[in-house]
């Protein structure tokens, strides 16, 4: 018995939901970033799984998209964390619910 595509997708969906949970329910900006990264890797897992379970093609498209998405996720993490540091310098907090200066 070998795992089918379905179980991989379910694991990836679970990972995505956990990332969503971290992004929605935590107030610390770094947790939100961790959640976003986790959702991105869940999407990568989907790409790789679909590539593996589709018939052999000329180009490994799924793998390519996963590689590019990892590179973009790294850039996103660098900019996101730089933003966290910049926000911390301004407001002395990293809890996103305290950043409410524009609230009327």
């Amino acid at each position: 018995m070998t795992p089918t595509l379905q179980v991989f997708l379910i694991v990836s969906a679970a990972l995505f939901s956990i990332g969503l949970l971290a992004a929605l329910s935590r107030r610390h900006a770094i947790f939100i970033l961790i959640g976003i990264e986790m959702m991105l890797t869940a999407a990568n897992l989907n790409f790789i799984a679909f590539w593996r379970f589709s018939p052999p093609a000329q180009q490994p498209v799924g793998v390519m998209i996963a590689i590019f998405s990892i590179a973009i996720a790294a850039a996103e993490a660098a900019v996101g964390l730089a933003m966290v540091i910049a926000v911390y310098r301004h407001y002395r907090t990293t809890n996103v619910d305290q950043l409410d200066q524009l609230k009327g």
Binding site: L20, E37, T41, I67, I70, I85
Partner: protein
């Protein structure tokens, strides 16, 4: 592709991911995130995409995880603990998971077993990157440079 390995890796990964999302101490959560990434890399190995798995470990654990722990270090003032927990997020996450799982299970065409494909060598990935994907590659290079400069500008000391 054995199911025993699959079960072990998925339990390991999901447990670490759940720990990363729910642990109270930030540093523990960030380290659990790194452990979860090792699990995902193991999934990639299981699926035969070794290069992507190695790249994931290299980029995420070597760079992103270290960046995250550094940021935690630089921004800790209030003992590095998270204050509140928004319970409505849990409901939304569970709902999303339920919806996704329901639609995956309902789709009959997804219950397929992996076909036999030739192993994906690094050489083939390199050739693809340098021929059909050369434009995306250059764009990613540009994007990374822009992100590097942008991150530097963001964290530079402000002049008053």
């Amino acid at each position: 592709m054995s199911s025993a390995a699959f079960v072990i890796i998925s339990i390991f990964t999901l447990a670490a991911a759940l720990a990363a999302a729910t642990l109270r101490k930030l540093m523990h959560a960030a380290l659990s995130f790194a452990v979860a990434l090792v699990g995902i890399a193991a999934f990639f190995f299981l699926l035969g995409a070794e290069f992507v798995g190695l790249a994931l470990v290299f980029i995420y654990i070597g760079a992103v995880a270290v960046l995250i722990v550094f940021t935690i270090l630089l921004t800790r003032r209030h003992a590095g603990k998270d204050r509140g927990f928004n319970w409505s997020g849990v409901a939304i996450a569970v709902a999303v998971f339920g919806g996704l799982t329901w639609s995956i299970v309902k789709t009959q065409s997804l219950s397929i077993v992996a076909p036999h494909v030739p192993a994906l060598t690094v050489k083939r990935i390199g050739q693809a990157l340098m021929t059909s994907y050369v434009w995306p590659l250059q764009c990613v290079g540009l994007l990374l440079t822009a992100a590097l400069i942008g991150a530097l500008v963001l964290v530079m000391e402000e002049k008053r």
